[in-house]
Symmetry: C2
């Protein structure tokens, strides 16, 4: 990859010339803290978050229940703003529930819309909650979940998917960026193939939203979900979002009939009648503070713009990839992300037999916060909005030093990793 820093001086130079350099200060960074490469698990805290929560507290204190006059539309107002990051026009994105619950709602809605088709097509290497939700829905609806067993590094390719698409497939549900390897899916081609077979296409964008220009409307995708606490910086357990293409909305309905999805909510009438538009996919009362914090989380991304963020991300990931080959491969590590830079998302995956010990020591020694995925994968996620080229440069030196340290071969306590 061209234009990558060749030494630390050039990394410093790249930071000086970085058009996004000023965005770093929109996030909290503690002095002397380890280099944070886990924004794909929990994004850093924007400086604006405290103010957003403070505003909600003021509103609640002052207006009490009257606050609902303006809180009511938050799920769709902030949904539309997330839509701007996704290439989705207004009226198609809503903030609600968790990714898991949104996936459940949309997958169930899709299955209901394709009766008589007995297969759900998923990815055996997809994020657990995606596989579990689909397993559950398959079990409940008497369908079969067919999991692609494609290469875990390269992820599903069109050529793997097309042969499995027949008239028996109701739904294709895949991730736009694989949570482990970071492999990027060709959503547009997959959607086209799914539609040719008469199936609906649903994508988990948790590792894509805020990273790459996913172009949801252009892709033709029917449905998508994504989380708010990774690249969207909404904070731990932030509410998630869902996307339903405008044309698909009238044909689909959520399996969870809640009062926030009801047409005339405050008439409190006897029979459920789903609202027009994206609101029909809401369920219970929306999490006002969570949505406002999420809005603060995406504000820096909207200001920076996806093209600039994605351009920087590609350079950062490219730098990590090149330095991993140079420094970590000789130490027994293997890059388990696609070698083709155009097929990589926002993070790089490295496998090493002592990955867990390395992750433990890196954190314990205050060097780097990577992400560990069992059994042997480190994920490194440099985030364009707040990770510098120098950090990416130094992180690799530090990881190499730990992998070269005999201590990495000693057993270390096993703790939970999120």
């Amino acid at each position: 990859m061209e234009g990558l820093p060749q030494d630390r001086e050039e990394a410093l130079e790249a930071d000086r010339e970085d058009p996004l350099a000023s965005y770093r200060s929109l996030f909290h960074h503690d002095e002397g803290a380890p280099i944070y490469l886990d924004g794909n698990s929990l994004g850093r805290q924007p400086r604006g978050t405290a103010g957003a929560l403070g505003a909600v507290l003021d509103q609640w204190r002052r207006d009490l229940v009257g606050g609902w006059d303006y809180w009511m539309d938050l799920p769709t107002v902030v949904g539309d703003r997330i839509g701007q990051l996704l290439g989705a026009g207004p009226g198609q994105v809503a903030v609600s529930d968790s990714t898991t619950v949104n996936l459940y709602k949309l997958a169930a809605a899709a299955l209901d819309a394709r009766p008589g088709r007995g297969v759900i097509l998923g990815d055996g290497h997809d994020f657990p909650t995606v596989r579990y939700v689909l397993q559950g829905l398959a079990a409940r609806s008497g369908r079969r979940l067919e999991l692609l067993g494609t290469d875990p590094v390269e992820g599903p390719r069109l050529a793997d998917i097309t042969p499995r698409l027949g008239e028996d497939v109701a739904l294709v549900c895949l991730s736009a960026v694989n949570y482990r390897s970071g492999a990027v899916l060709d959503m547009e081609a997959v959607t086209e193939a799914a539609h040719r077979a008469g199936a609906l296409a649903l994508f988990d964008l948790s590792h894509a939203a805020g990273v790459l220009p996913v172009g949801l409307d252009r892709s033709g995708a029917d449905l998508a979900v994504g989380c708010g606490y990774k690249y969207l910086n909404g904070g731990p357990g932030a509410p998630a979002w869902l996307y339903v293409r405008a044309e698909a909305q009238p044909q689909l309905r959520s399996p969870i009939w809640g009062w926030f999805g009801q047409e005339d909510q405050f008439a409190m009438g006897p029979a459920y009648q789903p609202a027009e538009g994206i609101r029909r996919f809401l369920a219970g009362t929306p999490d006002v503070a969570g949505i406002m914090a999420l809005d603060a989380g995406i504000s820096p991304l909207l200001a920076a713009g996806l093209p600039a963020l994605w351009a920087k991300t590609r350079r950062l990931v490219g730098l990590l990839a090149r330095r991993s080959e140079e420094l970590l491969a000789p130490l027994g590590a293997r890059v388990v992300s696609p070698a083709d830079p155009t097929r990589r998302g926002g993070h790089l995956a490295i496998s090493h037999p002592r990955a867990w010990s390395a992750a433990y020591l890196l954190v314990q020694r205050g060097l780097v916060v990577p992400d560990f995925r069992p059994p042997d994968v480190l994920r490194l996620a440099p985030v364009a909005a707040y990770t510098s080229f120098t950090e990416a440069w130094d992180a690799l030196d530090r990881i190499a030093s730990v992998l070269a340290d005999p201590a990495v071969h000693q057993d270390v306590p096993r703790k939970r990793v999120t």
Copy 2:
């Protein structure tokens, strides 16, 4: 009812002697604000909430993804604390999702556990989201939702329910306190009758939790849900909670198979295997800030204790009831809560043909914030932890003055009311 203030001087005296008087200062009250009688829709903001959210922000800033080491158990730790308010022993309550989603999960789990039984028994006068969720589940599972058409003021009585309980009933789902009339259900008797018929019993405790000593364990109830933003003071759209009796847990599983309900979550294994215990009813990543705010919301209640809160609530509601008969009945209003004080929960309902205009004027003139439910009901909810006897006294004078004002017969703008 004995011991009620007979004049304003005695109301002031009751406040001076109120053992809970000091709890009022644990909540924000704006100077000169109207009397707030809508804590059954959105509880006041505890002074501790800002600190709880600030702590989460500090943890997130400082520990980043490492915060999950201690955030992980929040749903059950705070669930157990809510359990203390409900008479539920540990390991049976978890904070998660919204009331709507929790109701969906538990009702679906119950239906799965009673295959071959084609009827869900509900209440035609129950809160809309309860009816809608049950309608949806009935439609999806090919069952029939049978709604009791009992008196909307008195709510379902055992004598109404027992004749409908046959071998065809899978689930009885009712509210412990009716959201309109405030009628209290005999959960224990209903559960016993449901169990005799082989059905499971699920209760919505949204208008009961934090108000009355519901004695969940003692009641024998299998399942319960409730919201966090009413009497539990968690803030607008706070996360909700769910209860599953310990003995019922192994037989039940959530329809939403999410990674937070998975046995060995971070092994990220291929097949979903529900966790032991209450965790199996979780779905996606928990809302950390929301749970911490909810914890701040229940802290004053745990400190005061349900018996003291309930004793004061009964006097407050009794005072409102007596003064409504004295002052509002001559103005054409009718108390539409049970006349028997032992059958009333934490709020009083009053119907009047101009209820909407009265609510509008009361708020617009800065006098009282009541709650309006279409077509013609004002709900008045004095909350033991922060409403004074003097406020309850004065509120009735103010409501009477507005109902007596010719302006109440003019049309006023119709706005959304939550």
